[in-house]
């Protein structure tokens, strides 16, 4: 599962050459090679990883949105790809501002991305441009917020009958 340093180097160099120095950060988190990219380069980079004859990242394991309220670019997306042939995994992250939560869709490449993107739209309000059927999936259709964002606390903060000062968060 762990990628060799040569392979990591190849990926970083390729993305930097093809997509105008798009790699912002790269690190190995536990056993997973993680690359943070500029938003515009994410989908082309995933396409490149898909097409590359040596790597063959042809399986989309999962994706999820992230919300860091203290960051300048608050919202983010995380994609995890798997090359079943070589048993390599890679995580690709990107961040974008909260008032422009737009990402290009990945449904053209992986059919699996359809519901995954709908889920992240539902919970984080990330709009996937080009998605064939972008509507809420798990929450009710007339919900007005995107509940997984950090500004929505789990419990109603106006409640007076509960004292959470000691152990709440």
């Amino acid at each position: 599962m762990g990628m060799t340093e040569a392979q990591q180097e190849t990926i970083i160099n390729a993305i930097n050459t093809h997509f105008n120095h798009a790699v912002i950060k790269h690190e190995v988190l536990y056993d997973m090679f993680t690359v943070t990219l500029r938003k515009d380069a994410v989908i082309p980079a995933i396409q490149w990883l898909y097409d590359n004859e040596e790597m063959k990242f042809r399986f989309l394991t999962t994706m999820c949105a992230l919300h860091y309220p203290d960051q300048k670019d608050e919202l983010g997306m995380m994609y995890q790809l798997h090359s079943l042939e070589n048993n390599l995994r890679i995580r690709i992250k990107t961040f974008f501002p909260k008032d422009l939560p737009v990402m290009p869709t990945l449904t053209g490449l992986y059919s699996a991305a359809n519901w995954m993107e709908r889920q992240e739209y539902d919970f984080f309000g990330v709009e996937f441009k080009g998605h064939p059927n972008l509507k809420r999936i798990l929450n009710v259709d007339d919900m007005v917020m995107h509940p997984m964002r950090k500004e929505f606390p789990l419990e109603d903060q106006t409640r007076k009958d509960k004292n959470d000062t000691m152990f709440g968060r």
Partner: protein, 402 residues
């Protein structure tokens, strides 16, 4: 065999008047609460649209407010047919984050529990395929065996369905002699029941005619749709997390990964059937090779101390208090860990900011990902085949909606 090419349906489309049929949300044949709006041309499905989310319980949000040990009961309720696998997957994720060294014995005990859970899950799926084709007998035989598995869980942790089995770091206690007796009894009796079930369905002409060619999917489409587990293997791709990324000492065991060829209902049935046999082999090997040692790792920050020590030793009391109140510090980091759940790759993506709860926890739920292929798989087939396709995919509502 009742597969009708979509071309014919398209050709006739202009002259036809279609019926809209609601399959679900609560329909006995869907085995859970999810709706499918089918566009029917007589008995043939022209188009389908799935609606999910009826039992959505906001697990990812809930997890952001709970200390790590309190998230285990949430994972129970993902795939509730094989809760122990979910529990173990979560424990292992946290252990990976904190860098705990897990003794071999715990690994082997976990393998036994996980393989029992896999058998229980596959029993539900395969027996229900029988029921949906009209063969209730096999269901009754196998569900008795499933009951024995639940008795083993009960002996280990006291619960049956939503087990909350084990702890972060290992098990709360060693398996009792009675547990071992029950596992041994199960290993002796289950193959007989399975053989009986096999003789009822596997080469049964009526059953074969009914399920061969029903709801097929090609290997490429399955991979593109993110299939994992028995459904992917039935399509002919030998991807199994237990082999590709061994966890919990799976590399110590000798077992075969069965694969199908057509990815139809019969292949899915057969793959699950063979996996039950392989699981039995793994359990037998784990029991034969069971090492000596403690039943938990040395992680006092996460593993509750002995009750006796809590009363008599100050450190134990402090640890006990910190764990129960969820005041343990965890390292900052992000980790992905996946286990081979009964339905496929069950992944946990955990971001920790060092606080008492996860900053973000995302579940990769195999059901949710492969169920989106369902409309494509049933288009052009008969209504009764759609029911069979669904039960053979083993769609579990809890895992679907999280």
């Amino acid at each position: 065999m009742t597969q009708i090419s979509t071309n014919i349906v398209d050709h006739l489309a202009e002259q036809k008047e279609y019926t809209t049929l609601n399959l679900g949300p609560t329909h006995p044949a869907t085995h859970g609460i999810f709706q499918n709006i089918l566009k029917m041309d007589g008995e043939i499905i022209v188009d389908a649209e799935s609606t999910v989310g009826y039992i959505h319980r906001a697990f990812e949000k809930l997890a952001e407010r709970r200390p790590y040990y309190q998230i285990t009961p949430i994972t129970d309720r993902l795939n509730y047919c094989s809760s122990p696998i979910n529990n173990m997957g979560w424990h292992m994720t946290v252990e990976k984050l904190i860098g705990a060294k897990i003794p071999k014995k715990v690994d082997y005990m976990r393998v036994i529990v996980m393989e029992l859970a896999r058998i229980a899950d596959h029993i539900v799926c395969n027996a229900v395929i029988g029921v949906d084709t009209g063969a209730l007998t096999g269901f009754v035989y196998l569900f008795q065996q499933r009951e024995f598995i639940y008795e083993i869980y009960e002996e280990i942790c006291g619960a049956r369905l939503t087990t909350n089995i084990g702890r972060i770091g290992g098990f709360d206690k060693d398996f009792s002699p009675k547990t071992w007796d029950k596992i041994k009894k199960f290993l002796k009796e289950f193959p007989l029941a399975l053989a009986e079930f096999q003789s009822l369905l596997e080469r049964n002409r009526i059953f074969m005619d009914r399920v061969i060619g029903c709801g097929p999917i090609s290997a490429e489409r399955a991979l593109n749709y993110g299939f994992t587990g028995p459904n992917l293997r039935a399509a002919g791709v030998d991807y199994d997390v237990r082999v590709m990324t061994p966890y919990s000492s799976y590399e110590d065991f000798d077992f075969i990964i069965p694969v199908g060829t057509h990815g139809d209902t019969y292949d899915r049935f057969m793959v699950r059937h063979e996996e039950m046999r392989q699981s039995l082999r793994i359990i037998q090997q784990a029991m034969d090779k069971m090492p000596e040692g403690p039943c938990h790792a040395d992680v006092p920050d996460f593993y509750l101390p002995e009750k006796q020590d809590v009363y008599n030793k100050m450190e134990a009391l402090i640890y006990h208090f910190k764990i129960v109140m969820g005041e343990t510090d965890v390292p900052v980091g992000e980790v992905y860990h996946s286990v081979e759940g009964a339905n496929g790759e069950l992944g946990y993506y955990l971001i920790s900011d060092g606080g008492r709860t996860p900053f973000r926890l995302h579940f990769r739920r195999p059901c949710f990902i492969y169920y989106q292929a369902y409309p494509e798989m049933i288009k052009g087939s008969m209504l009764s085949d759609a029911i069979l396709t669904m039960s053979s995919m083993n769609v579990i509502a809890g895992e679907l909606d999280a």
